[in-house]
């Protein structure tokens, strides 16, 4: 077994004082002479190679610091790094000179060490006048080392691109030859390579006749073209593997446990730069470490900034940031390269910094030599901040006031005002709702509104973001009552719930890993199904979000039951009396929101940033992965840290961003920052979103009244309602007293009323006889308000009307109880009929009157009961014993004294026998409702408030978006996926047609012309128009053109329409800048 050689190897080398070789001329030099003759020359040569103007390094390191060559095919590439006084690190691998102390043990091929024979020696590396010794050990040279299938053959197939998704890695393969994408399924690949294609893919007796070689070499036709050269290392790997018999790996073959990439993390290349060699070492489960640099796969995410070749040599091209990604089998690591370059004419003028954000943005701008644009003017800021925080334009009145305000803190004040507004909460909740499938098709029966209201409330009250997310992930309850339940209730499949959760809150698009390992990231199929397992016990039946007693996720390939992803330690719910939660979801939420989770605070901080700066620091915002680096990692780290530090305070973070000089910069570019799109040197211009645009058209044409007016009417009605409710509450005891005697004394048309049914169950019991025999608590005492064992409660079911079968849920074997009161004001004969599935027992006023415990299927009128009822309240208790599967009951009060019975479910009849202090909260609510019905104004106010609260006329404020051709043309999402990409912002022809000539613009233009015609003079008119649409006054030149246009037209009404139309079509109007 080989010695591990890797971690922090160079520090070890430096830590050993003996490793530093004495400089030439010192004592002991002679001993080195035999092998140093060549070295000396090489070192001098290397010095000449060092870039001009660069000082000598303060130290050099060699990676790896010790080398073990433990197989005949082992090879190790050395990376030499120089450390300079100014903090730079440069790759000196190609400039360094290498020599071996002893010949016959190892040999050198450039900076690559190869074995010769078992033994030990040392390598002398010199660069920049410094020297490092690297111990070398060579072993196992007499032993064969056959090519390994997974670790080498599949690695080179990945490297050559053979198993890419667009080639043989496609699900259906290509040309009849299929491989698993990026080798996620080695066994299937072995089968396909060794036995597939009628066995012609590999010819062990004559390897070079194998189709696996001939096709990519283009010796025979290959649709994919030439993919292999005989000089490629892949060629020899494949040829040797075939020649050795083309065998799959033995069952106990060592597997790769991790890879270590050098340099780790990040590196700066200052141009002109010699580039940077990357080294990849694979650690195997048997303890061996192999240099897999030549068979790993390299890619650069930004090839204009840096390129990487097949040997892992990175070359910087121009200033910028690029991630270099290393893939070896299932392992993906990235190294972030920042390329610096001197830019002619760049001067840093120390622009003002408002807060930490600016310091961090400036640091990056300065490093990249990109100057920031100056601050924007007040009008631009006003329009920008209103649109960003509320979605709406300011009114002309607000614009005039803000522009006239000479106060120094007016921008901060405005930010605070807008953050506190209802409009902020609604607009930002809409952004979240876009990603949560919040539409009326998915969330029916008022659930969409309920959920939208909950989202807005969370923002209005600035609920800490971790609590907000956990509330959704761990929600339980009725989806028509608990808003947060609808997030999960809307996603019927566990896999979708996993994908949605990962994309929304972890910024990760894991969906690729459903079928194969993620092509750009280290999410594996196992990870995917572990996250899916978090949701395996979500029970979405009957409009409830509950915990299913069982449920697992099975890995589709390995068929293993997946352990749910989450915190390993159990989480105890803090509230007592709350039914136990879904421990899988609870633990996942605990893991997710735990401080320091790299997948949480950073993701939301980045989303908030992108919502304001038009672009994420990681972009797109839901695509966090090592191959998609943040454009300013320090900035993102700080934002995430600040978010965590303040208890996930969303408004705080938004305020910090809006106050920053970075946010308040002009969108006008400077010559030296015009090409920057990622470092926030100037504000990004973007088209108004579909909803912003429609509202802005309403505001600019003055055909949509300012939202403040709606809010005003809402507040007036709210206070009137509160007053009425308060008054009624005071009158309630008297009202109740007045109600209660009525059914007892005054006869009604039939003399008999029924309360609604109340239900409790199931009392689960698989054994039918036991369930029949056992007297559960309802048989002992009927307390509708009290608790029952097993977390059961009595629930009221006014919808269970007479003459129909009613099913119990969930479908569990055991006993179910329903009860109701029959209240008659005169004595008489009642005829009742029953049905049940399965057995039935009925008590009237505590006396068993029907006893049919035998299992049966349900039918109407299976049993009939005729009784004489004295005046008063009577209690009917029905027990249904279910044997499993469907269980339900049927009841009909057929007649009372030969007359059809009165309406079921009368509240008063139900409550009459119960003293008010024993009413349940549900019953109390019913009483209040019944009382309030007596004042029609209350219902009217509630209706109006509901209309106002919906803000249906304001598309940025509505709870549920309107679907219209206009909004869809401008990219309104259909809310069917959690992807922020569902909202599109690309300009399209359809948009141009809509804005030039669409029905909405035409109508608003006509109406708006009429509104502006009402203004007394044209000067004021053009000012108001510009203030309403653009938040600024027209320039003298614009004023002149506008007035001249009005004067030149004979028809003033038409002229004004044309004017309004032109303003709506201005780019300054259509874009936020």
């Amino acid at each position: 077994m080989a010695r591990p050689v890797i971690d922090c190897a160079w520090t070890q080398a430096l830590a050993e004082p003996g490793m530093q070789v004495p400089a030439p001329g010192r004592a002991g030099f002679r001993r080195w002479l035999p092998c140093l003759a060549v070295l000396l020359f090489a070192a001098i040569h290397a010095m000449a190679d060092t870039p001009v103007g660069l000082a000598k390094p303060e130290k050099i390191t060699v990676y790896p610091a010790t080398v073990v060559l433990s197989s005949v095919r082992a090879r190790v590439r050395l990376v030499v790094t120089g450390y300079y006084a100014d903090g730079q690190q440069r790759d000196l691998s190609r400039a360094a000179a290498y020599a071996l102390e002893k010949t016959g043990v190892a040999r050198l091929d450039g900076a690559v060490l190869l074995p010769v024979a078992d033994g030990a020696t040392r390598l002398i590396v010199s660069a920049g006048g410094l020297r490092v010794l690297v111990p070398i050990e060579v072993a196992n040279q007499a032993k064969p080392d056959p090519v390994r299938f997974h670790a080498e053959v599949l690695a080179v197939l990945t490297r050559q691109g053979c198993n890419a998704g667009s080639c043989h890695g496609a699900p259906e393969g290509k040309g009849g030859f299929a491989l698993s994408m990026l080798a996620y399924a080695p066994r299937i690949d072995a089968e396909s390579l060794i036995h597939g294609g009628q066995g012609r893919r590999v010819e062990p007796l004559e390897p070079i006749d194998s189709l696996l070689l001939k096709k990519p070499l283009l010796q025979v036709t290959h649709v994919g073209g030439k993919k292999l050269r005989k000089t490629d290392i892949a060629y020899s790997v494949l040829r040797d593997w075939i020649g050795e018999g083309a065998r799959p790996d033995a069952a106990n073959a060592a597997t790769c446990a991790k890879i270590v990439v050098y340099p780790a993390g990040s590196r700066v290349l200052r141009l002109p730069s010699p580039g940077q060699q990357v080294s990849v070492l694979a650690h195997f489960s048997d303890g061996q470490v192999r240099d897999v640099t030549p068979i790993a796969t390299f890619a650069s995410t930004n090839q204009e900034v840096a390129t990487v070749d097949g040997s892992g040599l990175v070359t910087g091209l121009r200033r910028g940031l690029s991630a270099v990604t290393v893939r070896y089998l299932d392992f993906v690591e990235s190294v972030y390269f920042t390329v610096e370059e001197q830019v002619a004419g760049f001067v840093w003028n120390n622009p003002p910094e408002r807060n930490r954000i600016d310091q961090l943005v400036h640091a990056k701008l300065r490093q990249m030599q990109v100057p920031p644009s100056p601050p924007c003017d007040d009008a631009t800021f006003l329009r920008r901040i209103h649109l960003d925080l509320t979605g709406l334009l300011p009114t002309a009145v607000q614009a005039r006031a803000f522009l006239a305000d000479k106060g120094a803190g007016k921008r901060d004040t405005l930010i605070d005002t807008l953050l506190a507004s209802d409009e902020f909460a609604r607009f930002w909740a809409g952004k979240t709702a876009d990603l949560m499938r919040l539409n009326r098709e998915t969330m029916k029966e008022g659930r969409a509104e309920l959920f939208a209201q909950w989202l807005a409330k969370s923002l209005r009250e600035n609920q800490p973001f971790d609590q907000f997310v956990c509330a959704m992930l761990t929600a339980l309850g009725d989806t028509r009552q608990v808003g947060a339940t609808n997030f999960l209730a809307a996603i019927p499949k566990n896999e979708d719930a996993a994908e949605t959760t990962a994309q929304l809150f972890m910024g990760s698009r894991i969906n690729c890993a459903k079928c194969h390992n993620h092509p750009f990231e280290n999410w594996t199929q196992d990870d995917y199904y572990r996250i899916a397992a978090v949701f395996a016990r979500v029970d979405r039946a009957n409009g409830q979000l509950a915990v299913a007693p069982a449920g697992e996720v099975i890995h589709p390939v390995s068929s293993k039951v997946m352990a749910p992803w989450g915190a390993s330690n159990a989480v105890v719910r803090p509230l007592s009396g709350v039914p136990p939660g879904d421990s899988r979801r609870d633990q996942f939420a605990a893991w997710l929101a735990r401080p320091g989770n790299a997948y949480f605070a950073r993701v939301e901080a980045n989303r908030l940033w992108a919502g304001l700066l038009a672009r994420g620091i990681v972009h797109p915002v839901d695509d966090f992965r090592s191959t998609n680096p943040p454009s300013n990692p320090e900035l993102l780290d700080w934002l995430a840290g600040e978010f965590e530090r303040t208890g996930f305070d969303r408004k705080h973070l938004i305020r910090q961003i809006c106050q920053s000089a970075t946010y308040q910069r002009s969108s006008a570019a400077l010559p030296l920052n015009a090409n920057d799109a990622t470092l926030f040197s100037h504000h990004t211009v973007r088209r108004l979103s579909a909803e912003q645009l429609q509202d802005a058209i309403g505001y600019a044409t003055r055909t949509l009244k300012p939202v403040e007016e709606s809010r005003g009417s809402e507040e007036a009605r709210r206070s009137e309602l509160a007053e009425l409710e308060g008054k009624l509450a005071g009158e309630r005891p008297g009202w109740i007293r007045a109600q209660l005697p009525e059914p007892l004394e005054g006869p009604n048309e039939t003399g008999c009323r029924q309360s609604a049914w109340w239900h409790a169950g199931p009392f689960p019991e698989p054994d039918y006889a036991t369930a029949t025999r056992t007297a559960y608590p309802p048989e002992k005492s009927l307390d509708l308000a009290g608790p029952l064992p097993g977390g059961l409660r009595w629930s009221r079911h006014p919808e269970w009307v007479d003459g129909k079968s009613h099913e119990f849920s969930p479908r569990l074997a055991g006993a179910q109880y329903v009860t109701r009161q029959i209240h008659n004001c005169q004595a008489g004969k009642a005829v009742m009929t029953f049905g049940s599935d399965d057995g039935l027992r009925v008590w009237l006023d505590g006396k068993l009157v029907i006893d049919k415990p035998q299992p049966r299927g349900i039918a109407p009128d299976q049993d009939k009961l005729e009784v004489d009822l004295p005046v008063g309240a009577h209690t009917l208790l029905v027990k249904v014993i279910g044997a499993g599967g469907y269980s339900g009951f049927y009841f009909r009060l057929a007649s009372f004294n030969g007359q059809p019975p009165g309406q079921a479910g009368s509240l008063v009849a139900e409550l009459v026998a119960t003293p008010p202090e024993q009413w349940t909260p549900a019953q109390r609510r019913l009483v209040v409702e019944a009382h309030e019905v007596t004042v029609p104004r209350i219902a009217q106010l509630r209706l109006e408030l509901r209309q106002l609260e919906l803000r249906a006329d304001y598309h940025t404020q509505r709870y549920i978006p309107e679907q219209s051709e206009f909004l869809q043309a401008f990219g309104q999402p259909r809310r069917e996926s959690p992807c922020s990409c569902e909202r599109t912002s690309e300009p399209t022809l359809d948009q141009a047609l809509q804005i030039l000539n669409g029905a909405l613009v035409s109508a608003r233009t006509r109406a708006g012309g009429g509104v502006y015609a009402g203004l007394p003079d044209d000067n004021l008119l053009v000012e108001e128009l510009y203030l309403s649409a653009l938040c600024r006054l027209p320039s003298p030149a614009e004023r002149g053109k506008l007035l001249a246009f009005i004067r030149a037209k004979q028809n003033r009404a038409e002229a004004l329409q044309d004017l309004v139309w032109a303003v709506l079509n201005l780019r300054e109007f259509l874009f936020q800048h």
């Binding site: 998704g165 667009s166 496609a170 259906e172 649709v223 930004n302 204009e304 698009r509 969906n511 690729c512 459903k514 079928c515 750009f520 797109p620 695509d623 002009s666 969108s667 006008a668 570019a669 015009a674 090409n675 799109a677 990004t684 211009v685 088209r687 990219g971 990409c981 599109t984 912002s985 690309e986 300009p987 399209t988 022809l989 359809d990 141009a992 047609l993 809509q994 804005i995 030039l996 000539n997 669409g998 029905a999 035409s1002 006509r1006 614009e1038 053109k1041 506008l1042 246009f1045 037209k1049 044309d1058 004017l1059 139309w1061 032109a1062 079509n1065 201005l1066 780019r1067 300054e1068 259509l1070 874009f1071 800048h1073």
Partner: protein, 460 residues
């Protein structure tokens, strides 16, 4: 400027007009035989044994009352419902061995419709865009004053929202299907957004002149989106005012004799609009033009080919005890096969006369066929084992029948069978689109075109 997806789209927008010459989307291997494609999507599942696949030897209780007729090509028969079409048999390849193997699609018109439009079974990990959208992306437009992918009129979803199955999927919205809407046979028919709304051209010009002097952009801003918008605005202005745009939709300028040849009803005039758009250089045109609900055809609330009930009714298919098949008229009536036979034959003749057929691929397609047996409601239900489609133009060898079914039209008897994936692959390759080059989703996932299909060799 780094080339990312956004910029790529920006280039696409700016370069719309310059893409008339097939760009890099075209395969080096197979030359393009079609410049344009006209798809006649007859939605609902057209009964193959009543039209393209006659079965003279069926037992009479289940036989079609429409008897086989001879065509000019010996051995090829159609039913009497295609009497006029039969005159163009020399141009037509009738594919009788279409089949739809995927379970779950057979009973769903929305999914079946999506399958026809996208060429791929719906329900995969990525929603596949319409073939027309992919063509628009790959080949660009030849007529800058018109949208690149148009559906006439595309009003199916007006009666049934579920039938809004056209999708641009993951492609940029610029390649979305443009639906004309409305009823072209009605006087005064206009295409929304392509005619000036309540304005004359002089006033529109006044407005755009004013806008030209006022719109100086955003000071100091050269953002690609603002520039793209101006380019698109120019194009939109052109569409709104270019006489060629209006002419492309203006049926009044067509000779009355020709209009009558197509049939003056809804379907005939839709087919004529299809021809006009092809002639105007639109790359991809789809007709989805069942007769709209009208007093003229009582009971015809949903006039597609979904003849579950009373398929041979002389009028409405509404029958006592019927259900799923209500809302149509019998297959032999005028608004159904009568108008279809007339419009299809007129179209083939007209395209041929104008020399357009050589470079236009015409495909009459449907989702599936109908049962060989007549059900108890005198209708025919969905049948996916075998159905027929027809192709013409763009080098499709005419006068041939491809594949065969058994004596009842129930199962394919020929050694060959094709799917809608093969149909899609045929369309792509006829256009010279290199299917070995994928299109990419925004997340950079490569998506192959008609990946489960191969071009139908008999028509290539």
């Amino acid at each position: 400027m780094p080339v990312n997806r956004r910029n790529f789209i920006g280039l696409g927008v700016a370069g719309l007009s310059s893409l008339a010459i097939p760009g890099p989307g075209v395969a080096s291997g197979r030359p393009a035989r079609a410049k344009r494609v006209l798809v006649l999507f007859e939605q609902g599942g057209l009964s193959h044994i009543d039209t393209f696949d006659p079965k003279p030897d069926m037992p009479s209780e289940h036989a079609s009352p429409f008897r086989p007729i001879r065509t000019r090509v010996p051995g090829i028969q159609l039913t009497s419902l295609l009497t006029r079409t039969a005159e163009h048999i020399d141009k037509l390849a009738i594919i009788r061995c279409m089949t739809q193997p995927t379970p779950g699609i057979s009973n769903s018109h929305p999914k079946g419709g999506q399958y026809v439009l996208s060429g791929e079974t719906p329900g995969g990990p990525e929603e596949m865009p319409d073939i027309g959208s992919v063509v628009s992306l790959r080949l660009g437009t030849m007529a800058r004053h018109l949208p690149g992918y148009i559906m006439v009129p595309g009003t199916g979803e007006v009666t049934n929202r579920e039938l809004d199955v056209s999708t641009v999927g993951f492609l940029p919205p610029a390649h979305k299907c443009f639906k004309t809407r409305g009823q072209p046979n009605r006087p005064g028919w206009t295409v929304p957004n392509l005619g000036l709304l309540g304005l004359d051209e002089r006033r529109f010009k006044d407005r755009t002149d004013l806008l030209g002097t006022l719109d100086l952009g955003i000071p100091g801003v050269q953002a690609a989106d603002t520039q793209a918008l101006v380019a698109l605005r120019d194009q939109a202005e052109d569409m709104l005012t270019n006489a060629a745009t209006r002419r492309a939709f203006d049926l009044a300028i067509e000779p009355m004799g020709l209009r009558e040849r197509y049939g003056l009803g809804h379907r005939g005039q839709c087919y004529l609009v299809g021809r006009k758009l092809i002639e105007s250089g639109v790359r991809f045109v789809t007709l989805d033009c069942r007769e709209p609900p009208a007093g003229e055809f009582p009971g015809g609330s949903n006039m597609n080919w979904d003849h579950h009930d009373f398929i041979y009714s002389k009028g409405s298919t509404e029958i006592r005890g019927g259900g799923a098949g209500a809302g149509r008229w019998g297959i032999g009536t005028w608004p159904m096969m009568g108008s279809t036979d007339q419009a299809f034959s007129a179209l083939l003749g007209d395209l041929h006369d104008r020399g357009l057929l050589a470079e236009t691929l015409v495909c009459l397609v449907t989702e599936f066929g109908r049962t060989p047996r007549i059900n108890e409601r005198k209708g025919r239900d969905h049948w996916t084992h075998a159905f027929s489609i027809a192709m013409a133009g763009a080098g499709v060898p005419g006068g041939q029948v491809i594949g065969s079914t058994d004596s009842e039209g129930g199962y394919i008897t020929s050694p060959i069978a094709y799917t809608l994936d093969d149909y899609a692959a045929t369309v792509y390759e006829k256009l010279g689109i290199d299917r070995s080059r994928p299109v990419f989703t925004p997340a950079n996932r490569p998506i192959m075109l008609a990946k489960n299909g191969n071009p139908i060799p008999e028509v290539m």
